[in-house]
Symmetry: none
Subunit: 210 residues, 2 copies
DNA sequence: AAAAAGTTAACATGTTTATGTGGTTGATTA
DNA sequence: TAATCAACCACATAAACATGTTAACTTTTT
């Protein structure tokens, strides 16, 4: 039996969702509220498995409610409900520890699946929301223009440099002579267009070589 | 009618998926291949709407195939198929422009939905995969844990170290004696719990001090 | 098969760092 | 007011690093 709390300001939708969920085998809505004004106390009192949280509510809204809950409870699953797949809200919700982000137009059967998935550790999200997430993900990640053509061995050496190994330690770690380490490093400097260990390490991070 | 190409090395699964998809109203598998060796030519020849791409294939695997397609075609929708929800592969696939990432155990009916969603611009992913994505998302966005209590002056020195300045250059840049630079750096090492320039630089990046 | 690139290694020379010990000054805090 | 801390400076020594040259051998590419 999955126990839920519901936060939704629209009375019709609140009633409808409660009826739908509580009327389904294995689901029970413990209580439903029209805003998050006392969300912390309510969550503590009812100790639900999953919370359905509308984003747009008068008073304390869903994002703020999410934050408040996460300050005291990191384990309850929270599914955000919204009418839009709004970029900004999605980002906010994810950063604040929401477990999923689904649209209100989600068909009832699917909604119940999503709740189950959230309860078992999944992060259900509608495809349109996932699109936003993926866009953000790839935009904030990498551009990594140059390749630098480091050979395998050179990458290994650079990796160890980054980890703070001295030439001597690298030599012993890689079973080669210290002079060979020097050779590799010289080559690395040429390829990265740097001339010191620190610069190489910095570049390795910046350009995500390691 | 959604036109698909299928890449999957397992003959049974390949046949099964082809039968399933082509046997469904509104879907058509144009062709199915057991590896990505000629993926670019095939995609150009068939011009599909959606591509189902297995990750693990002999020869050119799915991730490499994805990359090759994206080099010449940014619009075709590509859904990655895998048996696991493997962290590393998910990351790779997303970075390389996959439109969705679904598990092979996905029930047939749901698979068809996913294909439709991808075709209309969504990014379907199973809840378990989404969990990985969200974890990565919030981990790369986190605030630095420790503060390390670096003084203003120490931060400046560290900043210059990261940029590859030698002690001498730092001294002249900051209008202080080289021995003072040493003092600062010693203090920095203590505070960061490191004992070499490279480690300090690496830590500066990792913990977003600079 | 020839050319190019990668890996290994040695030798030499000068520079830079890491580390220790010592100190002065001025501002903040207990 | 005494103590603490940040910022400053100096001298000394051993270790680590940067740079140059040379060269044998292997693998990959052309």
């Amino acid at each position: 039996m999955i126990k839920l709390l519901l936060y939704e300001d629209n009375p019709q939708l609140r009633e409808g969702l409660t009826m739908l969920i509580s009327g389904s085998e294995g689901f029970e809505v413990l209580s439903a509220f029209k805003n998050c004004d006392n969300v912390v106390q309510e969550v503590e009192a009812f100790n639900p498995d999953v919370i359905l949280m509308d984003i747009d509510m008068p008073g304390v809204n869903g994002l703020e409610g999410l934050k408040r809950i996460r300050e005291v409870n990191g384990s309850v699953k929270i599914l955000m409900l919204t009418v839009f797949d709004d970029n900004k809200n999605v980002f906010q919700a994810i950063s604040n520890g929401a477990n999923g982000y689904i649209l209100k137009k989600t068909p009832p059967a699917r909604l119940l699946e999503y709740i189950s998935e959230a309860q078992t550790g999944g992060a259900p999200m509608t495809a349109s929301v996932a699109t936003q997430v993926l866009k953000m993900f790839s935009s904030m990640n990498n551009e990594k223009g140059e390749d630098y053509n480091l050979s395998e061995r050179e990458k290994q050496v650079l990796q160890l440099l980054v980890e703070g190994y001295s030439y001597k330690m690298i030599a012993s770690e890689m079973f080669i002579a210290i002079d060979t380490v020097r050779s590799h490093i010289k080559k690395i400097y040429e390829k990265l267009h740097v001339n010191s260990k620190s610069e190489a390490v910095a570049k390795a991070f910046k350009d995500k070589i390691v």
